[in-house]
């Protein structure tokens, strides 16, 4: 009986997330298509106009990034998806509706976060695969590998932005919100600021750990907000 309740509850929670994301969740994917098109035409244009050597020269010696438009895409997508999921859930004390649902609120929260992070992962997966394919069309495999290493910190910034935005919406204290936003901005700027290929690769595991900590922090904040302690 308990399993049946749990299954039904999961279906209910997923249904609500689907309602929130069915239209709003499409925007990051539409932007991804535009960014990929831009990357393709940038490389195609350089190669057609000046030949493969010019493209190679631009990428290796001038650190030209044909996929520059993707620098902010995971970041924007993280903020957008979290806002789509949590703005409607948290505004005007609506989080109390969530707290009153007959489910374990931490499990339910991680289901919601898992869905958002999953959607972001899907977007990032498509982004990386498509970018590797596009780079592979015009350049050797080493360049494709380098483009992935360059994209990785930007993608991680997307996950930190997603978790931080969710945290800011759940939080009830303005001061704490500003604090979370400030800390998140520091990490995100550090990750997306690299101007050369492969920046931050050595520090990436540490940034990954920081991203995980952001997700863990959400659970603690939820507990505090539920008890009315701001």
């Amino acid at each position: 009986m308990r399993d049946m309740h749990a299954t039904m509850a999961v279906r209910g929670l997923l249904y609500k997330e689907w309602i929130k994301l069915r239209y709003l969740g499409l925007l990051p994917f539409a932007l991804l298509l535009i960014a990929l098109g831009n990357s393709f035409y940038d490389m195609h244009g350089l190669k057609s106009a000046n030949g493969g050597q010019a493209l190679w020269h631009a990428v290796i010696f001038r650190s030209h990034m044909p996929f520059e438009a993707m620098r902010y895409l995971p970041l924007f997508s993280g903020v957008w998806l979290a806002a789509a999921q949590f703005a409607s859930e948290c505004r005007n004390r609506r989080l109390r509706l969530f707290f009153h649902l007959p489910v374990n609120e931490h499990k339910a929260l991680f289901l919601i976060l898992g869905l958002g992070a999953g959607l972001l992962s899907l977007l990032i997966g498509i982004l990386c695969l498509a970018q590797v394919s596009i780079t592979g069309l015009f350049m050797p495999a080493e360049a494709a590998r380098l483009s992935i290493l360059t994209l990785a910190p930007w993608c991680l910034a997307g996950f930190i932005a997603y978790a931080a935005t969710a945290l800011i919406f759940i939080e009830t204290s303005v001061v704490r919100r500003l604090w979370h936003a400030g800390i998140a901005t520091v990490f995100v700027l550090a990750l997306i600021d690299g101007r050369s290929y492969g920046s931050h690769i050595d520090g990436l595991p540490w940034f990954g750990l920081i991203a995980v900590l952001w997700f863990v922090a959400i659970s603690n904040v939820l507990d505090r907000v539920k008890r009315g302690r701001s």
Binding site: G12, K16, L97, H100, V103, N104, K226, R227, G228
Partner: protein, 295 residues
């Protein structure tokens, strides 16, 4: 009869201001219970504690046997909660709300929801944000009624509703409580509709219980007298005998749970010689206001 809600010496404060000050009461199974009080009396804070949205700074509260700040999902499933201001997911349509909530409640009664909602002159594909406040109240009530809860808690159900919607809501509640035997606790600062509805009332003021009575005994011995105003009468203050003292125009008005002779004696002791003395009948609302004060 077991108590579904037990509050014992509840205390709570916001930023140093004491909102609940040793509030104790019990809600027994069955019937409609009113937690009444003026704005700021501590009703919403009490409900927030009952539902686990606030941890009291002192005292304790149990709901269906669980400590209120540790309500298990199984316990929450038995409680239908109408949030203050009819808070609900207003990005959803009426139909989507029904489909969403039915996943969480094994005893969900779709016909109860439909019966109430189909009376609205709007399609079920209408978003909640596009409904009037009254229509919204009906959808919110339908959502908790369809849960078939053991305990229903309505936090300030009357807020923002005109007399028509208030009456409609109370009529539905009354019929529902009779049919399903649900225990209902409601809070309100509008009391004129409640006399015929509630079976037990708790009046709270300044965060503690001021008065409690069962149906048929509401303000049973509270009476009101009017007499000619005088300089001595203007000096009168509330006492153990004089529950309320008020001066309007050329008259002074006193209320008391004591009998007429004791009230006159109390006035004489204060140097007041009541002239043109007459008893004024009290309505439910008059009695409530006499007890809690108009200011």
């Amino acid at each position: 009869m077991p108590a579904l809600i037990e509050c014992d010496r509840l205390r709570h404060s916001y930023a140093g201001k004491q909102v609940l000050n040793g509030l104790s009461f019990q809600v027994r199974k069955g019937g409609i219970h009113g937690l009444l009080g003026k704005n700021g009396a501590g009703k919403t804070t009490t409900i927030n504690i009952l539902m686990g949205f606030l941890e009291p700074s002192g005292g304790g509260c149990r709901v269906l046997g669980d400590p209120s700040h540790l309500l298990r999902p199984e316990t929450r499933r038995k409680i239908g909660l109408l949030h203050e201001g009819f808070t609900q997911h207003d990005f959803m349509t009426i139909a989507e709300l029904e489909k969403f909530y039915r996943h969480f409640y094994p005893h969900w009664q779709p016909q109860v929801f439909t019966q109430l909602v189909q009376k609205l002159p709007v399609p079920s594909s209408r978003r909640l944000s596009k409904l009037s406040f009254g229509q919204r109240s009906q959808v919110c009530l339908a959502l908790i009624m369809a849960q078939l809860p053991e305990l229903m808690i309505l936090d300030d159900y009357s807020m923002g509703l005109d007399a028509g919607y208030r009456r409609l809501l109370l009529d539905y509640l009354h019929a529902y409580a009779e049919e399903y035997g649900t225990t209902i606790l409601l809070t309100s600062h509008v009391v004129q509709d409640l006399e015929r509805l509630i079976d037990h009332m708790f009046i709270i003021q300044n965060g503690s219980l001021l008065y409690s009575a069962v149906r048929g005994r509401f303000f049973e011995s509270l009476r009101q007298w009017r007499f000619q105003r005088s300089p001595q009468a203007d000096q009168l203050e509330r006492t153990a005998v004089l529950t309320s003292v008020e001066h309007i125009g050329r008259h002074s008005i006193v209320c008391s749970f004591h009998d007429e002779a004791q009230v006159r004696q109390a006035l004489l002791q204060k140097g007041v010689m009541p002239e043109d003395w007459q008893e004024i009948p009290l309505s439910f609302e008059d009695a409530f206001l006499s007890l809690t004060g108009k200011y």
